[in-house]
Amino acid sequence: MDDEARLKKCFVETFGLSPDQVKDDLVYTGIKQWDSVGHMALVAAIEAEFGVMLDTDEILGLSSVAAARQLLRKHGVHRA
């Protein structure tokens, strides 16, 4: 599975979405599942999938699918 598919999987499994619902413009609080509790579950899923530990500022900035990709690139674990 490539890095983009792994990232998508985190959103799909955390929020119960279908893969085509995971688009760059999917944003925090944009769907009811992605509230503050859902956000922590998403962070946990991303951290476990990519083996990183995000700090609080990064978590606060993780506000969309695009932002998540950007953050993982910064950590050098998303190469797509």
């Binding site: 509790v37 922590m40 579950a41 962070v43 946990a44 951290e47 476990a48 083996g51 530990m53 700090d55 609080t56």
Partner: protein
């Protein structure tokens, strides 16, 4: 008490209550990850491993964000996650009002409160989804009742009590329980710093008639961490032998 198989992160485990917690959790079949600034914590983990128990250790300051992250990464890498966090690392600098150095007061808040908030934020992400976990904080009778000569330390522990109660409410939907123990006067390096007459006077005021031992506190912590306490959250359990203060 059922903590067998659980992964338990214990801060301040090089000596005192934390070291006893490490030994008792490991003896009960838990996998322990230990942290402290000094190498004693590595030696303790080695001793536990030699006895066939699962133990890892990392030296570093719990107020250091990189150390907090590294600890959680160690839990994930070695044991695949986390079930119990025990925020035990703590510092006490006694001082009557008028003689409290702000530097000491700040340090107590850094270690006793801010490091706990930080580590908790990281730890909750490692608890198994849907199954939750348990957090036990080491508060103090100085935080719940107020103790003469410990106003700054007591303020930091009172903050920890507030944190415990709020976190319990906030994290309950995720099945994460948050409790604290509030020890009285326990025989460790922390209380050895007091003059002999203070020790004598304090112990004389303990209605159960003796100084507390680290094992007295460890048993209460293990109970709160275990599945036996599955319906208990947001509680501050005094472990003080009915100490007068």
């Amino acid at each position: 008490m059922s903590v067998a198989g659980k992964t338990v992160l214990i801060t301040g485990a090089s000596r005192g209550i934390g070291a006893t917690l490490a030994e008792e959790f490991a003896r009960a079949g838990a996998k322990v990850v230990l942290s402290a600034r000094t190498a004693g914590v590595q030696a303790l983990a080695e001793r536990l491993r030699a006895a066939g128990q699962a133990a890892e250790a990392l030296t570093g300051d719990v107020t250091d964000d990189a150390q907090a992250k590294a600890l959680l990464q160690l839990c994930r890498a070695k044991f695949g996650g986390l079930d119990v966090l025990v925020n035990n690392a703590g510092v006490l600098v006694p001082g009557k009002l008028g003689m409290v150095r702000m530097e000491d007061a700040r340090r107590m808040f850094e270690v006793n409160v801010l490091a706990v908030i930080n580590l908790t934020q990281y730890a909750i992400r490692l608890f198994p989804k849907g199954k939750g976990g348990s957090i036990v904080n080491l508060a103090s009778i100085a935080g719940t009742q107020g103790v003469d000569g410990l106003a700054a330390y007591g303020a930091s522990k009172a903050a920890l009590v507030g944190f415990t109660r709020a976190a319990a409410k906030e994290l309950a939907p995720q099945k994460i329980r948050v409790n604290a123990v509030a020890p009285g006067f326990v025989e460790t390096d922390m209380t050895r710093q007091f003059p002999a007459e203070v020790v004598t006077r304090t112990v004389a005021g303990v209605r159960l008639g003796r100084i507390g031992q680290p094992a007295d506190v460890a048993r209460a912590v293990i109970f709160l961490a275990s599945d036996d306490a599955a319906y208990i959250t947001g509680q501050i359990l005094g472990v003080d032998g009915s100490m007068a203060c």
